[in-house]
Symmetry: C2
Subunit: 270 residues, 2 copies
């Protein structure tokens, strides 16, 4: 069974998509079979992985509506061992369309279960004939809506990217409350994997203050690795590549490689 | 009747709240009576204006539910001629609670109309005995949900903050489509006031490319004023102040003052 990790934070622009893409790439680089499911109608994760708009004929929307399985929706990215279920703007309508549907909070959970069952029955082959996924990453939109709830209900654990800025701190306690509620009512196995400090700017004393506050509040739930603000990171998506491929020597890439090894170490201890 | 302007963009972290706070402050500084309505459950605009969590006993949630009028919900900020209807996390439940209610897309529009009617009947006095508002600014959450639709249905015009980054460009055409749909179905007077380029970084060639792309695509819908990335802007909210008060000589403040005068010039031409 794959480990399912979700990137969530209702504050916008904190690095959810950038972390999903680069953590996924780093895990694939060390030999894991990775699937990224884009749960955001904006489709930034799909674009950042180089999946053109006209190569999204089957998407996350179809999976949530039950019209396609995960194997059918997954497409190869240009990165070995990294597939993606892309998203389109159709996903905007999902919340309304699922309002009256049973198990509307578990549509994604059920789709992943169906994929696992098919894997168990079959010859252990994954989609497109490849091997089975060992990691599934879920990239969430910036809200606590049905799409994010579906992701939390399907996940084993949640990674919280947190921008080192004042407004980003405000939403943290609400996010943690929502996680507790999902754990109590929808998904008892959901845990907090950790908090990732992103866009840390050494020149800006605010970054340091926010980092200190978060570590004081959450202790070792906060990863040691801090992702610096690094212009190469924001340039990479316009080339349809993760920064790890666009410029693997820049400070952003080094930090994502360190983060991946830190996460894998934590995974091994679990 | 006040002019109602909404700050909207479903991409997260592009500067919606920062622009609402600082544009509101600049308009108040030149003598306008301004109300900012915080439509985001995160409540960043309320916090950035220094409104403590325990001073939000009446909030945007109550206004949308019809349990309080705008006059009752508005509180003074520390800035002369600038009031705010604060928001709390209760607003997260509004979308579900309004699902079966009639005119659910026009709850805010109807509340503003009721305020205008009360003003016309009364002696022209605004809330807390002050004068009537000439500008109402609406700060939206990062999504195209019922809260943002309510803001667009209530607005005369929309201002679109656009971060000079690649992912931010991706969502622009979808946002413009949504505006057209709201204009056709819910609010025929809705127009696009303009696109504000934010967090422009001179050291980063990507900023220039994005700015050029947007100007090529939308021409003079894009304001001349560009808001630079400036660390003083991100420090100000931790002091509960707009950057215009926190450091009125920094490049961020100067840009917001220029933006306000450009917007007022456009308003005069309308
Ligand atoms: N370490 C970094 N250094 C510089 N820029 C970054 C970094 N991480 C992310 N960015 C840029 O910041 C912007 C926001 O990041 P991203 O889109 O990943 O955040 P998000 O949380 O997924 O946003 P949304 O809430 O809209 O989904 C993007 O333009 C991205 O390229
Ligand atoms: N010109 C600027 N220079 C530097 N930092 C800025 C600038 N404008 C905004 N910021 C910071 O960037 C972050 C995002 O800005 P802001 O919260 O205003 O965006 P938003 O679009 O309202 O976000 P959300 O989508 O979560 O509502 C904040 O931490 C803010 O302080
Ligand atoms: Mg994203
Ligand atoms: Mg905001």
């Amino acid at each position: 069974k794959p480990r399912v990790l979700t990137l969530a934070n209702q504050k916008g622009g904190v690095g959810k998509t950038t972390t999903a893409i680069n953590l996924g790439t780093a895990l694939a680089a060390v030999g894991e079979q990775v699937l990224i499911i884009d749960m955001d109608p904006q489709g930034n994760a799909s674009t950042g992985l180089g999946i053109e708009r006209d190569n999204r004929s089957v998407s996350t929307y179809d999976v949530l509506m039950g019209e396609a399985g995960i194997s059918e929706a997954a497409v190869n990215s240009s990165i070995p061992r990294l597939d993606c279920v892309p998203s389109t703007m159709d996903l905007l309508g999902a919340e309304l369309e699922l309002a009256e549907v049973s198990r509307r909070t578990h549509r994604l959970h059920d789709a992943i279960e169906a994929y696992c069952d098919a894997m168990a029955e079959g010859d252990g082959e994954g989609p497109n004939g490849g091997p089975a996924y060992s990691y599934v990453l879920l990239d969430c939109p910036p809200s606590l809506n049905l799409l994010t709830i579906n992701a939390m209900a399907a996940a084993d654990s949640i990674l919280v990217p947190l921008q080192c800025e004042f407004f980003a701190l405000e939403g943290l306690s609400q996010l943690l409350k929502t996680v507790e509620r999902v754990k109590a009512n929808l998904n008892p196995r959901l845990s907090i994997h950790g908090i990732i400090l992103t866009m840390f700017d050494r020149r800006n004393s605010l970054s340091g203050q926010v980092a200190d506050d978060v570590r004081a509040f959450l202790g070792d739930k906060v990863y040691d690795t801090v992702i610096p603000r690094n212009v190469r990171v924001s340039e990479a998506p316009s080339h349809g590549k993760p920064v790890l491929l666009y410029d693997n020597k820049c400070s952003g890439s080094m930090a994502y490689i360190n983060l991946a090894s830190e996460i894998i170490k934590r995974e091994r201890k679990l």
